[in-house]
């Protein structure tokens, strides 16, 4: 999946696959996680959020199933 670099103190890059509704997040420490069942709306809001880290911890972390992929 292609990930776009983002400006955040915690998150390095974010990618999204619409057909499978999968969000992929790379953290600053180099680990990569995939989150499932993320709707396009959430992703759009996430990319617009001024603070990616805050949005991530409020809406995505602990709210969707995930697995570590790298």
């Amino acid at each position: 999946m292609m990930r776009e670099p983002v400006a955040s103190s915690n998150i390095a890059s974010v990618g999204y696959d619409a057909p499978s509704e999968t969000l992929e997040v790379e953290f600053q420490n180099g680990t990569v996680y995939q989150f499932y069942n993320i709707s396009q709306g959430i992703y759009d809001q996430f990319m617009e959020a001024s603070s990616k880290g805050k949005f991530f911890s409020t809406y995505i972390k602990n709210a969707y199933p995930y697995s570590r992929v790298g």
Partner: protein
């Protein structure tokens, strides 16, 4: 059998497949034959010949005429003039019955005869009920050409010709003779729906037709196509454009929910709530759909369970204003955004702008068919269909001249869909297409049936072309650019009426619809006179070059060429370009700059009472 018979033309000198070479007799050097007082021109390309074979007569069409190029084989004495013609065999007559196809070939030296009016009567039958007159033979004006109405309607037809070749006149004349208003045996229950892209036919067929127009003039009815009669997929394509699967589900689920709600509130005859589908033609409000979806998208929540909507100000579905919620915040206290939102704000914005766009009013705000927010409607589809299909006149003209070309394809696709679905599902009823067939005339078909004009209209027409015959829906495709009309549609047209066509690409497309041995006939296409047509296919017993009957002057379509010389020669009168602009801005040919504002008051005159106007 030779010299004394005035119909004698010559003898067969060579037979190759269905092609015959014929030596012409000397008696015909004048090029004219007078039979029973009628003059026939001999050896005209496109005319017919008859070859008697005992009980049978073979019939063929002259495709080529020449001199001294025929092989010098043994010919009957006295008739070898060095002149020959090539004939394509087309059919045979046994007794009085004419049939396409051949059971035998002629022999060398069989005599060949001119086809007289009497023979043509045999070919065209005695003018049975299903035969309509379209014109007269180009080579013999006293012989009328008839087409089989049954085959013309059910097997579909195409009328093709360059601009100015007389297409509109042909269509008007053909429809007029189908309806036969003045004839004793008319077709009072004929049902013809005409898609009139240029608004030409109101004048030509006005006395036989009811006119619906997107920009109605006095005496015409407004044209509406209620959006809720369309299939959900088509409607979404039209209003919000391409959607991903997940987004489409969000819309179709909501459409289904609204339709179910409307059905519960206003039960509709025939529709069991259990068999309701998202495609059922059940009214629902698009505004309500927009409001409920945008509300869900923008909703934010407060409270420990994140379940109390943080509504600041409710919106208004009717006025298309969105509700306002407290913006979500990142902190632990919220408000929080709706996690289940589908991310369809962009298509919803598109839907809103479509709803506000007046160009789409014919479909999205369809007058008395526009549902209220709860799905209640003033009039149901039966009134719409009755207007289009069930009135006292035989022809319905849908005048689309005021429709912007960007929405023309969609509009036509929607109309065809509504009409076809209605006739398809009513096939067991007396109003259905089987019991009362419908002919749909599609003017300027290349504008909406081209390969790159979108899919709505093409899909609908393809469906009619492929299966319309079984359900009593026939298509008549009219176009000046056959090369740009979808090939599937054109190939399904059983009858081709080809007028003058000069473009080689167009001509080859028309040729392609014909069997090989008759393709030579189509080489005549560029030299046909205005109003002359070559008719081939199911409805015509034989391929024929025909001069179409001109309707009377007051019934000519409004498409005749402007009289340039005459118009330029007259003295210039005072002009007002403000009314030109008014018409342009108003998108209406009858717009005025200054409302006359005439005060009308009833006159209490003793003399006027007797008139009773």
């Amino acid at each position: 059998m030779t010299g004394s018979d005035p119909t004698f033309l010559g003898v067969v000198s060579a037979v190759t497949g269905a092609t015959l070479t014929i030596k012409l007799a000397e008696s015909l050097n004048s090029g004219l034959a007078v039979i029973n007082g009628h003059t026939y021109r001999v050896g005209q390309v496109g005319s017919f010949v008859r070859i008697p074979q005992g009980y049978q007569d073979l019939f063929g069409i002259v495709s080529e005429v020449g001199a001294t190029a025929a092989p010098d084989t043994s010919a009957a004495e006295g008739i070898d003039t060095g002149r020959w013609m090539k004939v394509q065999l087309a059919g045979e007559a046994i007794g009085g019955m004419f049939e396409r196809g051949l059971s035998q070939h002629p022999n060398i030296n069989d005599s060949v005869h001119l086809v007289t009016e009497l023979d043509l009567r045999r070919i065209y039958g005695s003018g049975g009920d299903d035969q309509v007159v379209i014109g007269s033979l180009a080579s013999a004006e006293n012989v009328t050409v008839r087409l089989s109405l049954d085959a013309l309607v059910t097997r579909h037809s195409a009328i093709l010709g360059s601009t100015g070749a007389g297409k509109s006149t042909t269509v008007a004349s053909l429809l007029r003779s189908i309806v036969r208003k003045d004839g004793q045996k008319g077709a009072p229950a004929a049902r013809i729906l005409m898609l009139d892209v240029h608004g030409e036919y109101t004048k030509a067929l006005g006395d036989l037709a009811r006119v619906f127009s997107a920009t109605p003039a006095p005496g015409e009815d407004p044209l509406f196509v209620p959006f809720w009669a369309l299939e959900a997929r088509e409607l979404l394509d039209f209003t919000v454009g391409g959607l991903s699967d997940a987004h489409e589900i969000a819309f179709t689920d909501k459409i289904f929910e609204l339709k179910a709600k409307c059905l519960a509130a206003h039960p509709l005859a025939g529709l069991d709530p259990k068999s309701l589908t998202v495609d059922s033609p059940v009214p629902f409000s698009l505004k309500q759909l927009w409001y409920e979806l945008i509300d869900f998208e923008t909703m934010t929540f407060t409270g420990a369970q994140r379940d109390i909507p943080a509504l600041e100000q409710a919106g208004d579905a009717d006025a298309l204003t969105s509700p306002r919620y407290t913006p979500h915040a990142m902190g632990a206290a919220g408000p929080f955004m709706n996690n289940a939102a589908k991310g369809i704000r962009r298509p919803l914005n598109l839907l809103r702008s479509r709803l506000l766009d007046r160009r789409y009013d014919f479909a999205l705000h369809p007058g008395e068919w526009e549902p209220a927010l709860d799905g209640g409607i003033q009039s149901d589809l039966d009134k719409l269909l009755q207007g289009w299909l069930g009135h006292d006149r035989q022809i319905t003209i849908l005048d689309l001249s005021g429709v912007p070309s960007s929405v023309l394809t969609r509009l036509i696709g929607s109309i065809l869909r509504v009409v076809y679905e209605a006739l398809f599902w009513s096939r067991e009823k007396s109003e259905g297409g089987v019991q009362r067939p419908l002919l749909i005339v599609m003017e300027e078909a290349h504008r909406y049936l081209g390969p790159d004009t979108g899919t709505d209209a093409i899909e609908a027409v393809k469906r009619i072309a492929k299966e319309g015959r079984k359900y009593g829906v026939g298509a008549m495709v009219v176009s000046q650019r056959p090369a740009e009309v979808d090939e599937t549609v054109l190939s399904q047209c059983g009858t081709v009426i080809a007028l003058r066509l000069s473009n080689p690409v167009d001509r080859s497309r028309v040729k392609g619809t014909l069997p090989d041995n008759l393709a030579g006939l189509m080489d005549l296409l560029p030299v046909l006179r205005t109003g002359e047509a070559i008719i081939t296919g199911e409805a015509a017993r034989l391929p024929v070059r025909c001069r179409v009957t001109l309707p009377s002057a007051e019934h000519l379509p409004r498409s005749s060429d402007p009289q340039v010389t005459q118009a330029w020669a007259t003295r210039r009168v005072a002009e007002g370009y403000d009314r030109v602009v008014a018409s342009w801005r108003g998108q209406s040919t009858t717009a005025v700059v200054n409302e006359p504002n005439i005060q009308r008051s009833p006159l209490a005159d003793a003399e006027s009472q007797g008139e009773g106007a």
